[in-house]
Symmetry: C2
Subunit: 300 residues, 2 copies
């Protein structure tokens, strides 16, 4: 029986594994792959220690750190976590593991528009992370799709950077925080398009525009960038029967990264922590090992 | 008037500056120096992204990142932060700054024993960070000074690594959490020395032993390492009149890094967050910028 099973190979899970290894804990790291969404980011400029680094290179550096600590990840897919008498059973596509504690760091997957051009122009003007990519669009015209929290925050950020911003919302009015909405409505460089859907993203080598329909009428808008800020999906399915989730299916944690179930912890993009950032997941990945270490010593 | 003044140039303050700069906030970074305590660590092995890096080199990399973002730190010492009508006044040894919000990331200084040998053998067997340095003492004999939370946690960590451990406590019994104490008392490789004070650290190039007095009688104990885990001092003096501190003089924050005063935030070693770690301070340095950004937009 392991003291701890860590599920997920992104920055949160890897940092937790680094700290657990250094504390000589008896643990397993189970991941579909290493890096998670981080591995997909072409250029990371906000991880302290690197002016700029590709997601692949940062992932590679994480991997070397695990090698050095002799942590060998199990590359399996977790199907279900069940409560057992003295802890948990983690069932994967290949095996079954017993653990006194479980850390869920399985991340999230982006919400996609599923329109023509989206796949082809990904990272060529199509982006899913305003915090990462907004600075690349200085004095350019951009569209933001979605007006919930992430969309409004993208708009506030881009108001300081971009030349013109189209905020595209499917519904009849802006969602998200009223006070933020008011600020955005008052900003002359923002054009708000409600009841509007994106039908296609245009461009050959780089985004050149989008096709939207408002009340059924198609229109072409020239932009150099499109920020897709619609809901993403946390990878929480395998614990959904066990643990308290919010309405976005994020695992609810307290400031010790503890979930609603004793012995079950979570960090990173799968949780209700609003900042979906590499360094935030890493910081919490370190933090949580204290809580788990403490919990284990109280159990024994 | 600045939107934000960040006080402190360690990993928390620098990460906050990186995120604030990328959000084009109007802010100032005031620091005595860059790096803080991080700059003093000879070998960092638990910061994700680097198998091993010196504190100086990591600090240098942070500095380049600030340069790239055109953040020019003000190298001044903050003497006092005062509440003003629309925010705060930050008084330094050279200037006075107005700010709508203030982030305190001023770190802490180590508690020292102030005994002969401590200065000379610093980083040569004398260490103030078990999480950083415990792995260097595999199968060695070590002493831990102090039996509060940090001392007990150091003991739990070293029980898995070192050969023999002397836990030295000035008072008549172990302090800190009872359940942890019991675990440590039951471990055969730990010798507990209560009513005991360290008088001298011995060694030429590297620690070879310590001199302690128990009930007045001096005794020499051979060890290769000494972990000084007595209370450290948070650099919170300049806000102590303003904000709620705990009995260790740490600034009490909530899970948004907010202090007891609206508009005043804190991260890192100056706060009551128990994990005094580089990546934890950096993670919270990123996290807090969301809270501050949100606060500012609600004020305007």
């Amino acid at each position: 029986m392991y003291e701890l099973v860590i599920i997920g190979g992104g920055p949160g899970g890897i940092t937790a594994a680094i700290y657990a290894a250094r504390k000589k804990m008896n643990f397993a790291l189970i991941a579909k792959d290493l890096g998670g969404r981080t591995g997909l980011v072409p250029e990371i400029q906000n991880y302290p220690g690197f002016q700029t680094i590709s997601g692949l290179e940062l992932t590679d550096r994480f991997k070397h750190q695990l090698d050095e600590l002799k942590v060998v990840p199990k590359f399996e897919e977790v199907l279900k976590v069940e409560k057992a008498k003295d802890g948990f059973v983690v069932k994967t596509d290949k095996n079954s593991y017993e653990a006194m504690t479980v850390l869920v760091a399985s991340g999230a997957r982006h919400g996609k528009l599923n329109v023509p051009g989206e796949e082809k122009l990904n990272n060529k003007g199509v982006t899913y992370c305003a915090t990462c990519d907004a600075p690349l669009f200085a004095d350019k015209d951009v569209a933001i799709v979605g007006s919930g929290g992430p969309g409004l925050n993208a708009a506030l950020m881009l108001m300081r950077i971009a030349k013109k911003i189209y905020l595209v919302e499917r519904g009849p009015e802006l969602r998200g925080d009223k006070m933020l909405c008011e600020k955005i409505v008052c900003e002359p460089k923002v054009t708000i398009l409600t009841n509007t859907r994106v039908k296609e993203i245009l461009g050959e080598k780089f985004v050149s525009g989008i096709v939207v329909t408002k009340d059924g009428t198609p229109e072409e808008i020239p932009v150099q960038g499109i920020f897709i800020e619609i809901s993403y999906t946390p990878n929480s399915e395998f614990v959904a029967h066990l643990v308290k989730l919010n309405k976005r299916y994020e695992i609810i944690i307290d400031d010790n990264c503890k979930t609603s179930v004793d012995g079950l912890y979570a960090v990173g993009d799968v949780t209700n922590v609003p900042q979906k950032q590499i360094v935030v997941a890493a910081g919490d990945g370190a933090k949580v090992i204290w809580a788990i270490f403490d919990y284990l010593h109280r159990q024994k």
